[in-house]
């Protein structure tokens, strides 16, 4: 049974359509991440699931029950807001009990539930404080506690970590993951941080301009993005997009980089189907799929790589890896490499491209070929 089912969902404000035909379903206990750039409609979709925004057309089902017209309180959901939205005049304990009071749960049971959740989140010492007396991370925890005391069918998160500093964000990310593993609630998690989505989610929904681009496991989204937008959005640094043409050498199809020496970079078996020589393509390579030729990285896995020559313009050490700004066939490309293996600025180097990992896109439709 799917815990959440969204069918042909649309939303317009006046004449402006902000969500177009969204289809999504989540299994019970699943962790779904909604990602996309600012303004793509993530929060709107979440608000519609919560019942805070009306549905223009389509269906939302929670555990098979159609909830389109149900009030938020009848949907059996809990939500954690980006601003935490803790009630400022209430103590942490009152914040957590407010929802249970509204539902007329007996006092004894309330106290028991709060004690259990507070222990789970390690916020027992904070129960008598007001939200203004808490740090950002503590507020975050309390906000999650408030969601958990209700034992909802569905937990919704709207960018819960974006108000925290970088270090705390990573800590809380791990905590959310642990928490999800221990309580096992179906979760929909909105974020614009693709790393958060990759680390937390069992499935990722990538949205752009109100359209659901792809809904799949993190691995599939990363390795087989449906289009150029998804490929560029997921992964950091971004995937490189080089314009190229399909060519042929010795009967095998390959890619010829525009502006280069005309060498054909042969595609692996089975990848060339449907490609015509002379066809324009976008050649997509992630920065980590370039490597030093002597490493033989692809070959050790029994795959093939080809060597291209790159001119190193700039070097950006980040500590764990070094980012090279290079030009390949006159087109800019970002390459990541081991800090110890970094070449000097201005050097011309050979780079092995892992051909099994590259993506080809149609320049007109931007779909993956």
């Amino acid at each position: 049974m799917s815990s959440l089912l969204i069918k042909d969902l649309r939303k317009s404000y006046g004449g402006v359509e902000v969500l177009k035909n969204i289809n999504l379903e989540a299994e019970s206990g699943e962790f779904v991440a909604l990602v996309g750039p600012s303004g793509c409609g993530k929060s709107t979709l979440l608000s519609m699931i919560a019942g805070l925004e009306s549905v223009t057309s389509g269906e939302i089902r929670i555990e098979d029950r159609l909830v389109n017209d149900e009030a938020p309180k009848d949907r059996d959901i809990a939500m954690v807001f980006q601003s935490y939205a803790l009630y400022p005049t209430m103590t942490v304990r009152e914040n957590m009990s407010f929802g249970m009071e509204s539902r007329r749960i007996p006092k004894a049971e309330q106290a028991e539930t709060i004690a259990r959740v507070a222990a789970l989140l390690q916020i027992e010492p904070l129960l008598n404080r007001k939200p203004s007396q808490l740090s950002g991370g503590q507020r975050q925890r309390v906000a999650m506690g408030r969601a958990l005391v209700r034992d909802p069918k569905l937990i919704l998160f709207d960018e819960p970590l974006s108000n925290l500093d970088a270090k705390l964000r990573i800590e809380m990310r791990t905590e959310i993951k642990k928490l999800h593993q221990s309580v096992g609630k179906t979760t929909v998690y909105v974020t614009h941080d693709q790393i958060e989505a990759m680390t937390l989610a069992s499935r990722i929904a990538v949205m752009y301009k109100g359209v659901l681009q792809q809904y799949d496991t993190p691995k599939t989204i990363y390795e087989q993005p449906v289009n150029k937008f998804v490929a560029g959005f997921m992964g950091s640094p971004n995937m490189n997009f080089l314009s190229a043409t399909i060519g042929e050498s010795d009967g095998a199809r390959g890619v010829v980089l525009d502006g280069g020496d005309g060498a054909v970079l042969p595609l692996p078996e089975g990848r060339a189907g449907g490609l015509r020589p002379g066809q324009k393509v976008i050649f997509g390579v992630r920065p980590e799929h370039f490597s030093a030729p002597q490493e033989q990285r692809a070959e050790r896995r029994g795959e093939r790589s080809v060597i291209v020559s790159a001119m190193v313009d700039l070097i950006e050490p980040t500590g764990s890896e070094t980012i090279l700004m290079t030009r390949i066939a006159g087109q800019t490309a970002v390459v990541s490499c081991e800090p110890d293996d970094a070449p000097a600025e201005g050097a011309v180097i050979g780079l092995a491209v892992d051909m099994n990992k590259v993506c080809l896109f149609d320049p007109a439709t931007e779909l993956r070929l």
Partner: protein, 299 residues
Amino acid sequence: MAEAAHIEFNPLATGSRRRQLTSKTIIYLCLTGFALMYLLPVVIIFLNTLRPLDAIVREGFIAWPESVTFSHWAEAWGSFCIGGTCEGVSRFYQNSLMMAVPATILSTAIGLVNGYILSKWRFKGANFIFGVVTLGVFLPAQMTLLPWAFVLGNLGLSNTISGLVLIHTIQGLSFTTLFCRNYFINIPDDLIKAARIDGAGFWRIFRRIILPLSPPILIVTVIWQFTGIWNEFLFGTVFTSGANQPITSAIVAFSGSGTGERHYNVEAAAVLMSAIPPLIIYLVGGKYFVRGLTQGAVK
């Protein structure tokens, strides 16, 4: 939202000692001058309440009292004859309280709910309605006299305190709605959303979330309404007479009418007495009044 200690910006704290000293002197001289200008009339009136009538007639208003008596205060409160009754201003005092207290409570309460709806439960046309309501702030009271005469006449509330309560409640709504709406608009919508998901309805959110955040604006509206209604004169004079007048109209009636001699000292005491309730309210809540008017956010 870190709780940093709030440090007032002090532009006079920099520069040479000499500059600091001269600028401070100038500022305090100006302030003292203005304070004297405002306070002097009050002092003169107060001194007159202590002087016997013949001394006032002989020496004029502005003079230091030779002999001091508080008897005029008692007379003004309990036994002076105004408009045929000899009960002093006490009964009109009562009238004013009976008018100002309920009208303040009612207009503030309705203003809170109005503001809550217009900021947090917005509906189509909410902005238009808000615009129309605030138009009332700029409408001169004289323009509403005729309609009110018609309404009070039809409701049988002419020359009653209840009639004045009705007028002041409704006339005050423009202000209270404006104040409350502009205050509530700064309360984050996420709080309301969270409460709705938590199962709270319209009134529960109002009671448990909005009201606990409201003391600053509550103080502002209560002070504003109470002083405004207490000091109001036009409606009281037009719609009530005799024993039903609020104190403002009564004082004018007893100083303006009558052919006999004027009891300046008793009148002065009555005037000062009538100024006491708004003064008390302001002294108690004035600090919060200024703060509430300037502070927007709840953060």
